[in-house]
């Protein structure tokens, strides 16, 4: 499952990369004067830093969400709690009255 997840992530990354390239090409080739501005090394460094910060925060959030879901499921299993809907309870009561 982990391997499949990695493959899907890689696939998603390639597709997104292709789409971004396509969008940039479409919007810059019409007007010959409009081309991508070159960034200075300092600007590039700043952008790298911003990206790394955002990546850390997103990964931390995703990990936390996943952990909370797993904790809840583990707690439910431990308590031996079974899901009982209102419909189930009503049906059970009807059967008892019979």
């Amino acid at each position: 499952m982990g391997d499949l997840n990695n493959k899907l992530t890689e696939l998603s990354r390639s597709l997104v990369g292709l789409h971004v390239k396509d969008v940039l090409n479409k919007n810059t080739k019409d007007n010959n004067n409009s081309k991508l501005r070159s960034l200075s090394d300092e600007e590039k460094e700043q952008l790298r830093k911003i990206f790394n910060d955002l990546q850390d925060q997103v990964n931390s959030f995703v990990k936390q969400t996943k952990q909370e879901t797993e904790d809840t499921e583990a707690a439910d299993n431990q308590a031996g709690r079974t899901r009982t809907t209102l419909r189930d309870l009503m049906q059970k009561k009807k059967n008892q009255e019979k």
Binding site: V23, L47, L54, Q57, V62, E68, T69, K93
Partner: protein, 172 residues
């Protein structure tokens, strides 16, 4: 004149005595309506015959988080756990701003930059908006867990978009 609560009007029906327990609206002959705040009130479909709560404090609260509303009314022992929706929304906004910033830095023409930004963000936008309301009334011992799984997917997609953009402009 019947009030909104059908069991309150029971005593006024057809001149019946105060002990009349047939409700004209729902034909309930039980006599007692379930009341979450009454410690001796037993839930009709409860498995536990000896259900008695000694801590039936009245609690009414309204909490609004971004696009979600949780209303708790006339209930007790309600436990609401939610993941950080506000954080998720802030992260989403930060990613959108970062993408727009990078595009504007690299494309001089502002109209073109705007169009590129919209094209990119439209691609990544997940249309399913998590706009849910939870309304709890006259309930006891309820656990609610709200998670943000959908927004996690959106965040990861936008991160990939930003990375791909940065690769195109030779930052990475």
């Amino acid at each position: 004149m019947l009030s909104g609560n059908c069991h309150e009007s029971r005593n006024r029906v057809g001149g019946a005595s105060e002990r009349e327990s047939v409700c004209p609206r729902c034909n309930d002959r039980g006599g007692r309506r379930w009341n979450a705040l009454d410690p001796s009130s037993q839930f009709p479909f409860s498995n536990d015959d000896a259900q008695v709560s000694q801590e039936a404090d009245q609690f009414s609260g309204i909490e609004q988080r971004s696009r979600e509303v949780i209303v708790v009314k006339d209930s007790c022992d309600i436990n609401v756990t939610s993941t950080e929706t506000q954080v998720a929304v802030s992260l989403q906004a930060a990613l959108q701003v970062a993408i727009a910033l990078v595009v504007n830095l690299t494309i001089a023409d502002s109209n073109q930059a705007e169009k590129v930004t919209q094209d990119l963000l439209q691609f990544s936008r997940i249309e399913q908006v998590n706009r849910q309301s939870v309304y709890i009334e006259n309930s006891r011992d309820v656990d609610i867990q709200m998670t943000d799984t959908d927004i996690a997917v959106s965040l990861q997609l936008m991160l990939q978009l930003l990375l791909a953009l940065l690769v195109q402009i030779d930052v990475f």
